[in-house]
């Protein structure tokens, strides 16, 4: 049944309340089962051998001694993963990243894997594998990789007719930027750099794979997208999709880093070879070296403005590293860079560049935080140059309904203006600052999207409801989906139990990325519930022997309408369900939908910092997030998303950084040396939810999971720069970098 996805401005009875999440007790008591928490009889331990070189030709791999070791049940190399990609370069790149073939392309690239009866034997076996490498020149810096004489990471990629690390050039914008700059009273131009960071999810990648001799397999895995894992693994291993069942475990954080496959095909291949289940859990070092962190970047940003605050032109040249395989990361930076503003002349040129670092994966609003760091820092510099309040300057130039976005389309109703007005009027902006303290603010944008979604709703004979969704619960989605089902059916929240279904239970669901979970599964849940209501009305009609058109559903019950039926007492959902065996059998609602029209999202953040001028250490002392949610289904978890994005942004801005040595090897693959923020590093992060309904969702929902990480780098950069009186242009703004900037200023540099 087709349903209208338009916003209806309905009054809610349950949506918008804050009941406890159904998975909460399990998570705080340790009952919840994550990727590494499931075992199978006879399971083996899988371990991966990784390249110690940044770039090398693999001349030979000798696994004979490892295979002979007692307790080793399988050893695999790329020969056990033949190329079945049939010319699909994207899939070949995934295959090559999961297991190196002729070349090791970065420090940590998988080159072989073993399955053994225990951890000790597996580790011993790895040491017995002899790899004959020919070390090749490497490049890990994005700017160096663009030079003509840089080592080429993938010779088949060409730019300007010759092998190059520049794998993609994207351009967006409109108007005439040169003419616009000619009209400007003030032009500010500055170069920025951001270092590579990791999503830092606490749960490492983990899976349990089992493939039998009949070619059927099962995979238990921590992932944001078990349907995507199934499709990719089946394709790479030559399995039928229907014969590989993938179940997503609870997920201990993903933030984009669990949208791809890494060791999962290796675990399946080991299991297939050993004919036993194989559990493969990454160490933290494996996660840093062998999963998918975000990009490092360098950027040139230029903005011209009139003295009255009108921006006449803006341009950005963005260089994003992609790791050893092409990706869309620079392109996304180019699309998002100027999306908050209504500029007549605007341009972004974005380069995706290959380097000898791990394959880049998405990280919450991928690529937008770095571009925002450059753009929002420069916006502050322009405001300062023309003597205008930075919030007023942004308000004057903010995009609004009808603005042509810098990446092409024209906006519908959007929330950047309201978030800026909320910031301007927020008490935070009027709080007094102390010595060595500074305040900054910044804006951010993310697209959001929906995608393929499939949901089942089954009503038990006691009237309780099982809701099965295919989007992974990464941030309280089961509570939100239960609220939506309860709202539609007119029953209490506690009467609904929401589950995440495995790949054999539902039709395809796209990965939980792009802030799509609540938007798309929420839409499918509404429609599944409405389908179930139609069935319940039919059962009531049968019971009463009246026309279904004479029945309406409200307050959790079928009501017969009209004076002629006034003697019929309402039939509750539980009564209809209880009678269902005799009225036609089980009652269920189902929906499959391509949920498009997700509605873009904007946020504005305020940040206060205090900088120790002797050490350069920065402490965030107050932080406020204002963001448009469209409609907050469960406000606690919307606020949680706002706070989580800000917390990760604080770490990115101040401390987190992949540090590479001259040898091209990662120097800090542990949480001892790669410093993510802990509770004591963070202030309470205040939030303000704005609700500007998305016209393309019945409840007005927009995604909320990603935009909150876009402004922090710039907001903190503006605050630190204000505190120390010198512009910080390189993240992380770690103590050595801040101290260096202070000393250069003191030296008159």
């Amino acid at each position: 049944m087709a349903h209208d996805t338009s916003y209806t401005d309905q009054d809610f009875k349950i949506v918008g309340s804050r009941p406890p999440r159904p998975d909460g007790i399990d998570k705080v008591t340790g009952r919840a089962r994550y990727g590494a928490d499931v075992s199978a009889p006879g399971q083996l331990v899988g371990r991966v051998l990784r390249s110690p070189h940044a770039h090398a030709k693999i001349r030979k791999i000798d696994t004979s001694r490892a295979q002979k070791l007692k307790g080793v049940k399988a050893v695999i190399t790329s020969k056990d993963l033949p190329d079945l990609t049939e010319g699909n370069r994207g899939n070949y790149d995934i295959l090559e990243n999961c297991m190196a073939r002729e070349h090791a392309l970065y420090d940590g690239h998988a080159v072989a894997a073993v399955a053994a009866v225990d951890e000790q034997t597996a580790r011993k076996a790895l040491k017995l594998i002899k790899v004959d490498y020919k070390v090749l020149p490497h490049v890990t810096d994005v700017d160096a990789a663009m030079q003509d004489d840089a080592p080429v990471v993938q010779p088949h990629i060409q730019h300007d007719g010759k092998p190059s690390n520049i794998c993609n050039v994207s351009q967006f914008g409109h108007g005439d930027v040169e003419a616009g700059f000619a009209q400007a009273d003030v032009i500010v131009e500055k170069t920025y750099k951001t270092e590579q960071t990791h999503q830092g999810y606490i749960e490492p990648h983990a899976c349990l794979a089992s493939v039998g001799p009949d070619g059927q397999g099962e995979l238990w895995v921590t992932t944001q997208g078990h349907f995507t894992v199934r499709n990719l693994c089946a394709s790479l291993l030559g399995m039928d999709i229907a014969k590989l069942k993938v179940t997503s475990s609870e997920i201990g954080g993903g933030f984009g880093g669990k949208t791809h496959i890494w060791t999962e095909p290796l675990a399946l291949a080991l299991s297939r070879k050993a004919n036993l289940p194989v559990k493969l859990v990454m160490s933290r070092e494996d996660v840093f070296k062998g999963s998918g962190p975000t990009c490092s970047t360098s950027m040139d940003i230029k903005i011209g403005a009139k003295k009255d605050g009108t921006v006449t032109a803006a341009s950005a040249t963005l260089r994003y590293h992609a790791g050893p395989h092409p990706g869309p990361w620079g392109m996304l930076g180019g699309m998002t860079a100027w999306a908050c503003y209504d500029f007549e002349n605007v341009q972004s040129i974005a380069y995706d560049v290959l380097v000898n670092r791990p394959k880049v994966a998405a990280y919450r609003a991928p690529s937008a935080p770095m571009a925002a760091f450059g753009v929002e820092s420069t916006m502050d510099l322009v405001a300062e140059a023309i003597g205008m309040d930075p919030v007023d300057f942004r308000i004057k130039n903010a995009a609004k309904e009808g603005t042509r976005a810098s990446y092409g389309p024209t906006y519908g109703p959007i929330g950047i203006g309201p978030t800026l007005e909320a910031v301007k009027n927020h008490p935070h902006m009027r709080a007094r600052l102390g010595k060595n303290q500074g305040r900054g603010m910044a804006c951010g944008f993310w697209f959001n999207f929906g995608g393929q979604t499939c949901t089942d709703l089954n009503i038990g004979v006691d009237g309780s409801v099982n809701l099965t969704v295919g989007t992974v619960d990464v941030g309280g989605a089961r509570a939100s989906m239960s609220l939506i089902a309860a709202e539609e059916l007119g029953i209490p929240y506690d009467q609904v139990k929401c589950n995440v279904g495995d790949t054999a239970s539902l039709g395809h669901n796209d990965t939980t990325e792009g802030s799509r979970g609540t938007f798309s599964s929420g839409m499918a849940t509404i429609f599944a519930a409405r389908n179930a209501i139609e069935e319940m009305k039919a059962r009531a009609a049968k019971t009463w022997e009246i026309d279904i058109e004479d029945i309406e559903w409200r307050d959790g019950a079928a009501h017969a309408m009209g004076m002629q039926h006034s003697n019929l007492a309402p039939l509750s959902l539980a009564e209809i369900a209880g009678a269902s065996p005799g009225t036609g059998g089980p009652i269920a609602g189902h929906n499959e939908v391509v949920a498009d029209g997700a509605g873009v999202s904007f946020a504005s953040h305020i940040c206060d910092v205090e900088v120790d001028p002797e050490t350069g250490a920065t402490r965030v002392i107050r932080y406020t997030v204002v963001q448009d949610a469209g409609k907050a289904i469960h406000p606690d978890y919307v606020e949680g998303q706002f706070q989580g994005g800000a917390a990760q942004g604080i770490g990115w801005a101040l401390n987190e950084e992949y540090v590479y040595g001259e040898d091209g090897c990662l120097q800090n693959p542990s949480f001892l040396d790669y410093r993510i923020p802990v509770c004591s590093d963070l202030p309470f992060i205040d939030t303000e939810i704005l609700e500007i309904p998305n016209p393309n969702h019945p409840y007005g929902i927009r995604g909320v999971g990603e935009t909150s990480i876009v402004p922090p780098l710039a907001a903190i950069g503006n605050a630190v720069s204000s505190a120390v009186g010198v512009r910080l242009d390189h993240t992380p703004m770690s103590p050595p970098r801040v101290l260096k900037a202070i000393k250069e200023k003191q030296a008159g540099g």
Partner: protein, 81 residues
């Protein structure tokens, strides 16, 4: 007839055109005509395309109806985290 805006690599694939008038009533028809007229567009279709209709981005729904006077913009397929 909808006018389709293009930027970046899509513009290059369409021989430099910033916009095109294409007689199409759905996204599926639009993309078929684009590839027929500009074969180099096939690569972008394979890599993933999205279509914005009056500001709303459609990644997957090829049956989406394009109103006669709609503003249409071709975009790369977006990935998220």
């Amino acid at each position: 007839m909808p006018r389709v805006g293009l930027s970046g690599q899509h513009r290059e694939a369409a021989d430099g055109a910033a916009s095109l008038d294409i007689e199409a009533s759905t996204i599926r028809e639009l993309l078929a005509i684009l590839v027929q007229r500009y074969p180099r567009m096939q690569r972008h279709l394979d890599e993933g395309l999205a279509v914005s209709i009056n500001g709303e981005i459609y990644r997957d729904n090829r049956d989406m109806v394009i109103p006669e006077t709609a503003e249409v913009f071709l975009l790369p397929r977006i990935q998220g985290g």
